[in-house]
Symmetry: C2
Subunit: 198 residues, 2 copies
């Protein structure tokens, strides 16, 4: 015994989303069919249009419908600064939280040889081309403070050094509002050795 | 600063799913765009076709593309038994776990006056029509053991009594493999007072 064919197909298709298993897919399918068919139709259209229309910015690899994303095409940005991040969400987080007015480069991942993700998958050639334009003075590396992020950071610093570009990495330490007592050892050790003169 | 228009629309549309907030929607959108565009297209088609094609069985209110669902249209079912459940998932659970060969009626919810869900929203008239066909000998009430499920059960038992149909409710008690020590008081009390002679 199973659901009707269309419903089975909908539940299977919903499972392609990360974090959504069969039980969640079923719950989502029932919700949409029972209470929000308009939402389901809007979502269908949005998915199809996004899959067809969204590509990557030719320059920074950010998701974009146009050849250059809104940041790369803005005239008001400081082209001497380049911030390298792992994901598009990181661009948004930095834009929202900091007053950074430079450009970005989105790796869309981190070095992970076991998963077959090497420099080429992270757009190393596009990054080298960008650095070759000789506009960049400082590369701000904002990869995640994980083992893979550290390895990626090391690789990026090498690229910058080859071209005599200054490389820096965002600071890691105790988060604001955090209490020393409850911060993990690795973070505290980072914060301790990364102490700054007052 | 925000994402490109199509991406914003996709993230907004993904938020219509229950249990999916902005962060999850963003993660899902990135995953689909970066790693699974085919999945996104399949999902778009499945959603559109399901929203357009799936209705309710005329008899039992189960989701169905056809006028009668596969259970109601099967000739091999025992038409003297009617099991009333809250949701389509309950039908599947009972089909999978028990050898029940009767028919179902799906309320698509439970009585909840504060949310404006009364007998009519639960398809009471369709249920009365079904009971009026004089095929049903026993109504098995399988609503959830919650306050709303209990109220709904009470209402259903009344409907059955009006027509001289025997009503029963599935047993509530200690689940298999459960330990008395860790079972909540309400369940244990139910199990105690619902004890059966051996």
């Amino acid at each position: 015994m199973s659901y009707s064919p269309l419903l089975v197909r909908l539940i299977d298709a919903l499972c392609c989303m990360p974090g959504v298993g069969r039980k969640s897919a079923q719950r989502i399918a029932f919700h949409l069919l029972e209470r929000n068919r308009d939402g389901a139709n809007l979502l269908a259209t949005a998915l199809a249009e996004a899959a067809a229309g969204i590509g990557h910015c030719q320059r920074c690899r950010m998701f974009s419908e146009t050849e250059l994303c809104s940041i790369c095409s803005a005239g008001s940005r400081d082209r001497s600064l380049l911030c390298v991040v792992e994901s598009p969400a990181d661009v948004m987080a930095i834009e929202d939280a900091t007053g950074y007015r430079g450009l970005y480069f989105v790796l869309m991942g981190h070095l992970s040889p076991l998963d077959g993700i090497g420099p080429e998958e992270l757009g190393a050639s596009a990054l080298e081309k960008l650095l070759g334009e000789n506009e960049t003075k400082e590369m701000i590396i904002a990869t995640n403070p994980t083992v893979e992020g550290d390895a990626t950071s090391h690789f990026l610093a090498g690229l910058a050094a080859q071209r005599g570009i200054q490389a820096s990495r965002i600071a890691h330490g105790v988060p604001l509002g955090g209490e020393l007592e409850y911060v993990d050892g690795g973070t505290l050790s980072h914060a301790f050795f990364g102490r700054r003169a007052l």
